[in-house]
């Protein structure tokens, strides 16, 4: 369970201070799947990145599994190891094989021996149908394969929550499906998920709740069917009219 209270984030730029998140309040309970939509530049990525502290919130609190992770004495690395993150551009480590990509963190953090980690990596790869790629290097993978492996890499840490920042936006259209189906399976298994995506079909099928973010605020939130079919806010309507 993660609980975000009055989250603000500003960046200092050459043009002065830019307020990107202007007071976000949201609770995501265990097993929930929250999809975040909104126009480009509205702060979706910044919001996700604040959740695992890749960005340091300017103000507000984030309570994760009972602990305020914005307080200064929290062990950030430990928090992050429980929150998987999947990026638009995969960010696989190009100098390591697929197996090494997956086992690096669990072994370095002494959660597993190399043998145990290897074994689990194979099991995870099998689940996403990429067992034969264990010894391949990332540059030989298609985008869809790379993203499935990036998901597996996060799962190897046994996170209690997964963050996805536009996981299919960099993919050729024919590869979107294979990644979404892995995410669907994950959702079915009960994983808590926060997903930024433009895949409205996925949002409708999988999300328990959809947040519409605009100019740093949650303008509207509802179940996907309600939000998509019966949006209340003018800006939500405008946005949906463009993407649906």
């Amino acid at each position: 369970m993660i609980s975000v209270k009055n989250l603000h984030k500003s960046f200092h730029t050459l043009k002065g201070r830019a307020d990107i998140l202007k007071g976000i309040d949201v609770d995501i309970s265990d097993g929930e799947k929250v999809v975040i939509i909104g126009p480009s530049g509205s702060g979706k990525s910044t919001f996700l990145r604040c959740l695992n502290l890749l960005e340091k919130p300017t103000e507000g609190q984030i309570i994760f599994d009972g602990e305020d992770i914005t307080s200064s004495n929290v062990n950030i690395d430990k928090v992050r190891s429980k929150m998987g993150m999947v990026f638009q551009h995969f960010n696989l480590f190009p100098n390591m094989t697929v197996r090494e990509n997956i086992t690096l963190a669990p072994v370095l953090l002494k959660l597993k021996s190399q043998d145990e980690a290897n074994e689990e990596a194979m099991a995870l790869l099998d689940r996403v149908g990429l067992k034969e790629k264990a010894d391949a290097y990332p540059s030989s993978l298609s985008g869809g394969q790379a993203q499935r492996i990036a998901i597996v890499r996060s799962l190897a840490m046994h996170p209690s929550m997964m963050l996805f920042d536009e996981p299919t936006s960099a993919l050729d259209p024919e590869m979107v499906g294979e990644v979404l189906s892995v995410m669907r399976e994950l959702a079915d298994e009960g994983m808590t998920m926060a997903v930024v995506t433009h895949e409205m079909r996925f949002a409708r099928d999988v999300a328990s709740r959809v947040l519409f973010l605009d100019q740093g605020r949650i303008v509207e939130e509802n179940t996907p069917d309600e939000l998509f079919d019966n949006p209340q806010n003018e800006r939500t309507k405008l946005f949906l009219s463009k993407v649906l």
């Binding site: 960046f11 200092h12 695992n52 890749l54 340091k56 690395d77 430990k78 992050r80 190891s81 429980k82 929150m83 998987g84 993150m85 990026f87 551009h89 960010n91 696989l92 480590f93 190009p94 100098n95 690096l104 963190a105 370095l108 953090l109 290097y137 540059s139 030989s140 990036a150 890499r153 996060s154 840490m157």
Partner: protein
């Protein structure tokens, strides 16, 4: 004297070729030692500079330790790159570390010198690694240090390996000033022969040839290295 008599006098008589052999040995020792020290210093200096730069960009407060380290590094880079190598070598030998064993002093002097150049190479290497790599490492729960060590630095080294190798090649030639502080390196060896036989051309030509062979050899190795690396990228 005929040419063969000249050559006999210069290289064979009194085993004068040993000046070149021993000199080459010293040149290799100094170069290798300085290279290792230079890489160590260069990596440390580069990490400090990059860390400081990152903290500044992320508008986080830089701690006092990092701030001071960065000042020291900048001073180091400015002074070393702004003064001639030979002057640095002489200052270290005659003013700072008078009791030092000459070869050791030379290794340290050339190492400190090389480190300043390696630092800039490594820094550009670290910055050439996509920020997404660091973010991926950190979001798996790896510490800043583990991420740097296991993810960023290996890729940075790979990106700048040719540049470091070039630094190595120029270092071989730069050590030829070691004779100024009384070290019998390859160049000095040739010069000693010249002073004994009053015959300048053959011994100095021999010295030049040896440097040339080393540099061409190392360049070949570099080419093979680059081809190998290019292949592992396509894999």
């Amino acid at each position: 004297m005929s040419l063969s008599e000249h050559l006999f006098q210069d290289f064979i008589a009194e085993k004068r070729y040993m000046y070149l052999v021993d000199g080459l040995k010293n040149t290799v020792i100094i170069t290798a030692g300085a290279l290792i020290l230079g890489i160590i210093l260069g990596v440390i200096a580069a990490i400090i500079r990059v860390q400081h730069q990152n903290k500044k960009n992320s508008s986080e407060k830089t701690g006092p330790v990092l701030f001071i380290l960065n000042v020291i590094v900048n001073f180091y880079l400015t002074v070393i790159r702004g003064t001639p190598t030979i002057v640095q070598l002489m200052i270290l030998t005659f003013a700072i570390w008078k009791s030092g064993q000459p070869i050791q002093v030379a290794i340290v002097a050339f190492g400190i010198n090389s480190g300043a150049y390696v630092a800039e190479i490594i820094r550009s290497g670290i910055q050439s690694v996509d920020i997404g790599q660091t973010e991926a490492g950190r979001s798996l729960g790896l510490s800043e240090r583990m991420t740097l060590q296991k993810i960023v630095l290996p890729q940075a080294f790979k990106n700048v390996a040719p540049a470091i190798f070039n630094e190595f090649i120029s270092l071989v030639k730069e050590t030829s000033v070691a004779g100024y502080v009384g070290i019998q390196d390859l160049t000095k060896g040739g010069d000693i022969i010249r002073s004994q036989t009053y015959d300048a051309f053959p011994p100095l030509l021999a010295v030049a040839l040896i440097y040339l062979v080393i540099v061409i050899g190392l360049t070949q190795v570099l080419n093979i290295l680059e081809r190998r690396m290019a292949r592992s990228d396509i894999r």
